[in-house]
C-alpha cells in the first residue's frame, strides 16, 4: 500500500491534471498576464510611440546612469563577495559569526531605511555633509550616493552564493597547492576560483539584476533630478506619476528585458551550480 502511494504514477489521473492546471493558472495569473500587460501597454500607441519614449533624452540618460551604477556596484560586490566568501568560508576567527550575520543585513533592512541612513551620514546636515560640501564632492542627490545605495542593497547576492560553497569545499585544496609551491595569487586563480566559478557567475547575475532594478534605497538618495540622477526604475515612476502610462511601460520593458535575460541565465546556470555543490 505504502510503496504504491510513493510511486510517481500513483494518484488518479484527474488529480494530477487538476494540480497541474492549478499550478499553470497561478503562474499565468501572477507572471504571464502582468508581463503581457507591460508589453501591451508599452505598444498601445504603436511602435513609433514606443521608440519615441525609449529614445527620449531623459530615458537615455536614465539608462546610461543605470548602466554606470551597475558597472561600478557589481564589480565592487564581486570583490567584496569573494573576500567575504574567502574569509568566512575558509577560516575560523573571533567575530566570524557576527560578520556572517552582517552579510545578510542588507536583506533584513528595508532599502528605504538604508537610503535614509545614507542621507543621515552624507546629507547636507549629516555627519560628513559639511566636509563633503566643502570639498565639492556631493554624495546625496548625486551619482556617488546612488552607487553607495546600490552597493549596500546588492551586497549579499555574491557573498551568499560563495560563503556556503567555500565553506563546504574547505581549505584542503588550497593547503595542497601551498605545499606544492604555489603562491597566494596562483592558488587563488588556479584552485579557489575554478571551484566556485559557476556560483560566482550566478551570484553576479542576480547582483546585476538587482543593481539595475533597485528602487527604494536609490529613490531616497537620488533626489529625482531628471536627466541627471534618475535611474531607469525612478524614471518609470516619474513618468507614471505624470500619467504618461504608455511612456512608463515602454521604459519598463527595458527592465523587464533584464529580468527575462536573468531568468534564462539562471535556468541555464542552475544545473552547473548544483553540480559544483557536490
Amino acid at each position: 500500500m505504502d510503496a504504491y502511494a510513493l510511486s510517481p504514477r500513483s494518484g488518479s489521473r484527474a488529480v494530477r491534471l487538476l494540480l497541474g492546471a492549478a499550478a499553470l493558472a497561478v503562474l499565468g495569473l501572477f507572471l504571464v498576464v502582468p508581463l503581457a500587460a507591460v508589453f501591451a501597454e508599452a505598444f498601445r500607441n504603436g511602435a513609433a510611440a514606443y521608440l519615441a519614449s525609449v529614445r527620449h533624452p531623459d530615458a537615455l540618460a536614465a539608462l546610461r546612469l543605470t548602466l554606470l551604477v551597475a558597472a561600478i556596484a557589481v564589480p565592487l560586490n564581486v570583490a567584496f563577495g569573494l573576500a567575504a566568501g574567502w574569509a568566512l568560508g575558509k577560516f575560523r576567527f573571533p567575530g566570524r559569526s557576527v560578520l556572517l550575520a552582517l552579510v545578510d543585513l542588507p536583506f533584513a533592512v528595508s532599502p528605504v531605511v538604508a537610503g535614509m541612513v545614507l542621507v543621515l551620514v552624507f546629507g547636507r546636515t549629516g555627519l560628513l555633509g559639511p566636509w563633503l560640501a566643502a570639498h565639492a564632492f556631493p554624495v546625496v542627490f548625486a551619482v556617488p550616493g546612488i552607487v553607495l545605495a546600490t552597493v549596500f542593497v546588492t551586497f549579499p547576492f555574491v557573498a551568499r552564493e560563495l560563503v556556503p560553497l567555500m565553506q563546504a569545499t574547505g581549505s584542503e585544496e588550497e593547503e595542497a597547492a601551498r605545499v606544492l609551491g604555489a603562491g597566494f595569487l596562483t592558488t587563488f586563480l588556479r584552485v579557489t576560483l575554478p571551484n566556485v566559478k559557476w556560483a560566482l557567475l550566478y551570484g553576479t547575475i542576480l547582483c546585476t539584476a538587482r543593481a539595475v532594478g533597485e528602487f527604494g534605497a536609490v529613490s531616497v538618495v537620488s533626489g529625482h533630478i531628471r536627466g541627471r540622477t534618475n535611474t531607469l526604475p525612478l524614471h518609470v515612476e516619474v513618468l507614471y506619476d505624470e500619467y504618461d502610462f504608455q511612456g512608463a511601460f515602454a521604459v519598463a520593458t527595458l527592465l523587464t528585458g533584464v529580468a527575462l535575460v536573468t531568468l534564462v541565465l539562471q535556468a541555464l546556470l542552475g544545473r552547473r551550480r548544483r553540480e559544483e555543490r557536490r
Binding site: 584542503e172 593547503e175 595542497a176 601551498r178 605545499v179 606544492l180 609551491g181 604555489a182 603562491g183 584552485v191
Partner: protein, 358 residues
Amino acid sequence: MSIEVLGVTKSFGSFTALRDVSLTVADGELVALLGPSGSGKTSLLRIIAGLERADRGSVLFHGTDVGPRDPRERRIGFVFQHYALFRRMTVFENVAFGMRVKPRGERPSEEEVRRRVGDLLKLVQLDWLGDRLPGELSGGQRQRVALARALAVEPRVLLLDEPFGSLDARVRQELRRWLRRLHDEIRLTSLFVTHDQEEALEVADRIVLLNQGRVVQDGPPEELFERPTSPFVLDFLGNVNIFHGRVENGRALLGPLSVAYPDHPHAEPAPAAGYARSYEIDLSREAGDTGFWASLTRVGIAGALLRLELLPDGAAPLKVELTRERFEALRPVPGERLWVVPRNLRVFLETPVPPRAQ
C-alpha cells in the same frame, strides 16, 4: 634528508595538542606516528609541513631550522587524509601542478613536464587515467594520484596523513604493502600518521607512539610490541585483559593469579595490574596449580582466528583468541566452564593517576 623535531608544544585555545614532543626521522627511514584520535599526531605532521605553527620548539630538516620557512619553500611532499586533489583538474594536471607553479626560471619545459608526469603515473600504476577527473576515480586510485602529485616536486621528505584512513579494508592492505615496496625503491625520508596499530606494525621501520600530546614510546615495531614500557602501549598495540591486584614481597597477587615480581621486594603492598594479550591465554578442561574457572559466553570467527569471550566469577569478561587448530582440539561450547591460564602476564605498578586520564 633527516627530520628532527625538538620540544614542540602546541595549544589550540585551552586544548594542548602537543606537549614538548621530540623525535627524529633518519634519512631514508619510514616512520609511523601512531596514536589514538586526539593524541596530536596530525597537528605534529602539519607543524612539520609548516601548515601550522608550533607555540614552542623547532623543526629541523637536515640540521637546518625550517621554522621561519613557508610550506612552499620547505620542499615537502604532503599527502592529505582526504587526498585534497584539485577537483577541477585532470589527474595529469593534478600531478603537473607542482612543476607548473615553479618560478619562471626553474619551471621545466612542457615536454619535461609531460615526461615526468608520465613517469610518475607509471610509478603509481595509473598512466592510463591521466585525463580523468578525480571525481571519476576510486578511493585507492585517488590515493595514488595524491602520492604521485606529492612526489612530482621532488620533495626532500614525504609526509602522509592517515594515508589509508578512508579506504576499505582490502584496498588498505594492498596499498600499504605497495607503499612499503615503493619506499624500499625510492628511499625517501617518510613520516606517516595513523591510528591503526596493525598498519604501523606492518609498514614502518620505526613507530613513535603518541598519547595526549606526548611521545609514549619510540622504537622499532618489534620493540614496541615485545617490550612495551607502559600499560598504554601494551593496550594500544593489541587486545589485552587486565587483572587488578597488588605487589608485595617480590610477588604480584592479582585475584586468583600469583606471579613473581622481583622489582618490588618490600613488605608493604602497592597497587598493580597484570596484562595478558588475548592470544597469550590458555584454556583447558582440567584445573592446574595456577589459573581460574570461567564460563564461555561467546564464540566469534575472525578469519583464521576465533575470538572467545569468557566470564570469570565476579570479574570483568575476558577476551581470548585461539587459532583454528587449538580451537578444534578443545571444541568448547558456549556455557561450558573452562580453566583459564594466562601464559605471559606483564605486571605494571598502577600509578596513583592513571596515564589515560591526565
